[in-house]
Symmetry: C2
Subunit: 177 residues, 2 copies
Amino acid sequence: MTGVSEPALDPETRLHSDHPEALRLWLRIFTCARTVERSVDQLLKREFGSSLARFDVLAQLERAPEGLRMGELSERTLSTNGNATWLVAALGREGLVRRRAAPEDGRAVLVRLTAAGRRHFATMAKRHEAHIVSCFAGLSAGERRTVHSLLGTVKDHLTARRKQPPNDHARDDRTTA
Amino acid sequence: MTGVSEPALDPETRLHSDHPEALRLWLRIFTCARTVERSVDQLLKREFGSSLARFDVLAQLERAPEGLRMGELSERTLSTNGNATWLVAALGREGLVRRRAAPEDGRAVLVRLTAAGRRHFATMAKRHEAHIVSCFAGLSAGERRTVHSLLGTVKDHLTARRKQPPNDHARDDRTTA
DNA sequence: GGCAATTGCTTGAATCTTGAACTACATGAT
DNA sequence: ATCATGTAGTTCAAGATTCAAGCAATTGCC
């Protein structure tokens, strides 16, 4: 007997549908993100001989006029230390970025945009923005805010999770171990 | 007291915030996607000596018991032809996947999971699912459905866009050209 | 049939990314 | 002061990814 409740609220159904739902959501986020990423990357390559990774570094530096340490930079670009070194070296060779020792810590390095870097970024950013706008033109402004806000919750959850990785699925998934 | 209307609804603000809004949304999607991607990739590397890219290939093949052509495969994994060749070669060396000529087209190659591949995938998939569930545990089931559905719209828009790339920003951005 | 254009895939070079080992500086306890 | 420990970045090798060029089978057209 299932009673008067709606199918979706049936406890058994919930247990079964709860998990695949998260999977489906992830798959969709993944698809959208990768599609846009690739189109942006191709755009930046085609029109500026650059790339999404480079653009991302420049964007982070643009927002930090005082410069960023390498560690901060790699954290904000969500990449590794080694990769940040590599990218900054490349951008440095192209004159878009300058490195100097941090005043208060001999180990640290401060990276800043050069004037040329700022100019180059501004050009790319304009094109980039137009592209992004067209990618998300399928949603209304309100819908965009909704997704933005809900993914904000996800982001916070992920950030909290990283600080203290709660063993992933420790409590109710012993059958896997 | 500013009255009943919210600041965000002011017309001038709207005009200005319309574009940056898409940018902010993109930035957030990008952040969430990359964070989850990296954590999944590390998980699969750490526990199975595999990677997200390999997992993705196996997942697509699992869904296609008849096998997939290389082209189909690279399309579904959102990667390039060359990369698909590379990945399938690696998975083939590990015995998880088998290649054979397509019956009706001598140029095409059909890729399928081997029994070992299916087993290996099942193990990883279990772990993977638990991980994903925990990543998105910050949202309620309803919220997950909302995001899933809205991003469905985005996905459709992107798919339509690809078929006939509408020049991106042709109408109102001549100043850039 | 035969030949040009197309299609499906592979190859190779260049680029990018990662993870782990390493250097150099900083800090704190003794 | 000295040493153990920790922290900021770099380096290097291996892996992954892209793009363009190439090859072989197929299709369409005459």
